[in-house]
């Protein structure tokens, strides 16, 4: 009986470990023109399934601490797909420091610290150079708390 209880406890703790402490959801949207209740043309975000070159897509990452403990050092990293070009200034994340990578996610730095050296000439990195965007939370994500990070990119 004692042995059985031990086994059950082990099984339960295994289940608990497999359960995520954070819930992370990504959403991709694009703008759509529509006629609002006042009969005016307005724009709204709708889920993007298909896009055409030149269209802007908006990625929103929502993360929630579903555990009962505080999460420290929360960092969200999102790649910018090959056919997408980051929209300058679009990264948004309350309470986060935003950083970018120009080397496929190997290293990250603040926007203005990134430079590209081509044929011996160094220039500031531009939006097209970015391969990843990262949000570093300044504070603890308390149990039950939710936060969001966003950026936009244009399909080439």
């Amino acid at each position: 009986m004692r042995i059985l209880t031990g086994l059950m406890l082990t099984a339960l703790s295994f289940v608990a470990a497999a359960q995520a402490h954070l819930d992370v959801q990504t959403l991709v949207q694009k703008e759509q023109a529509y006629i609002n209740e006042q009969g005016e043309t307005d724009r709204r975000l709708v889920t993007a399934d298909i896009v055409v070159p030149g269209e802007t897509v908006f990625y929103t990452i929502t993360f929630t601490n579903v555990s009962d403990e505080s999460a420290e050092n929360v960092v969200i990293t999102n790649p910018i797909a090959e056919d997408l070009v980051y929209v300058e200034g679009s990264a948004f994340g309350p309470g986060t420091d935003m950083q970018f990578s120009i080397d496929g996610g190997a290293s990250f730095a603040n926007r203005d610290e990134l430079t590209i050296t081509e044929e011996g000439v160094t220039r500031p990195a531009v939006a097209r150079d970015f391969t990843h965007v990262r949000w570093v939370m300044q504070n603890t994500l308390e149990a039950g708390a939710q936060a969001t990070a966003r950026f936009a990119a244009v399909l080439e």
């Binding site: 298909i50 055409v52 420290e72 080397d103 496929g104 996610g105 391969t131």
Partner: protein, 337 residues
């Protein structure tokens, strides 16, 4: 393990991006003009890392997927300069190019309109009126294949273009300086309409086709300028005989004066005056002048000469003349044998 995989794929991504950028620099991006290929699937997964009770952990979000639809875009560009024509000219061609600026393969219908508002006259479309520049010469000629709507609509790959002629006849009633216009319109066979209009499932490979910024149709207008240049040439002579009189006797000198003037609009391009020395006379060496300035007899860098390659002939090149240039006066002398 997942992290290692992540970095591996990220590195691959980076290399591809770098090579794409280099490509872009060298070829002035012909490929990126049309954008990401139809059907490309773009996935996105966010990574999150955090510490919980001092233990570092990572997670991945769900993966979002977007599919690149076909963007229908087309441009039409006039290649010909303003084309100079005369009344009753036939088969006057204007050259255009139609370019598929969308990201999928697309067929285009072509149409001609020669009744363009604001023109001085309406050119008359020939039958047929639209031809492909089949031989790639840029000149309309017998080797060029006529276009028939719905039969040989050009099918263009992304960024591909085709050169097309509009062929018109010029009416007999036109006046100098009149301008006539003719317009080529290329319209996507899949459809046209307001940018953003979706043709479900009608793109390459069954994806949706979406009308791009050009509305799926594009037109360009070419111009004909009626330029029947009228030139007036007046020749006069003065006889000076050896006795001081004006009798045309042997030994008398004939001073010919030829006035050339453009009396209409338009440009007489590369105009030249040629005047044979009359029989029974002998050219007076060094006697040619143009507007009072001497022209040597030799064939050299100046504007004229005495051409002795056949019967002796005075040649004076006047260049491109317009009404604004006024009267050009050429003088030379001969003696009566």
């Amino acid at each position: 393990m997942k992290l290692a995989n992540k970095y591996l794929s990220s590195t691959t991504l980076w290399l591809r991006r770098v090579s794409a950028l280099c490509f872009c620099c060298v070829l002035s991006n012909p490929v990126f003009a049309v954008g990401t290929a139809v059907g490309t699937v773009i996935e996105n997964t966010a990574n999150i890392s955090y510490d919980l009770a001092g233990t570092p952990l990572t997670l991945q979000s769900n993966t979002t997927t977007i599919v690149v639809a076909e963007r229908i875009n087309v441009t039409t560009t006039l290649l010909s300069p303003q084309t100079l024509v005369s009344a009753n000219d036939t088969d006057q061609a204007l050259l255009f190019t139609v370019t598929n600026t969308g990201n999928g393969s697309e067929a285009f219908e072509l149409a001609i309109d020669s009744n363009i508002a604001g023109s001085d006259f309406n050119p008359t479309p020939a039958v047929p009126a639209i031809y492909f520049d089949t031989d790639g010469s840029g000149d309309f000629n017998a080797g060029d294949v006529a276009y028939t709507l719905g039969v040989n609509d050009p099918v263009l790959a992304p960024d591909a273009s085709v050169n097309v002629f509009l062929v018109n006849d010029i009416p007999g009633t036109v006046a100098n300086g009149d301008i006539g216009r003719s317009e080529l319109t290329a319209t996507s066979v899949t459809g046209s309409g307001a940018p953003g209009t979706v043709f479900a499932g009608q793109g390459d490979g069954g994806v949706d086709a979406v009308i791009g910024t050009t509305g799926g149709t594009a037109a360009a207008v070419g111009e004909y300028l009626v330029s029947d240049v009228l030139i007036s040439v007046t020749k006069s002579q003065v006889v000076t005989d050896p006795t001081g009189g004006s009798e045309p006797i042997p030994g008398a000198t004939l001073t010919y004066s030829i006035a050339v003037e453009v009396t209409s609009s338009g440009v007489a391009t590369a105009s030249a005056l040629t005047d044979p020395i009359p029989t029974f006379t002998t050219f007076v060496p060094g006697s040619i002048t143009l507007n009072g300035a001497a022209i040597s007899d030799a064939t050299d860098g100046d504007a004229g000469e005495l051409d002795n390659s056949g019967a002796a002939t005075v040649v004076v090149r006047l260049g491109d003349l317009t009404q604004a240039d006024g009267v050009q006066t050429i003088v030379f002398q001969v003696t009566i044998d």
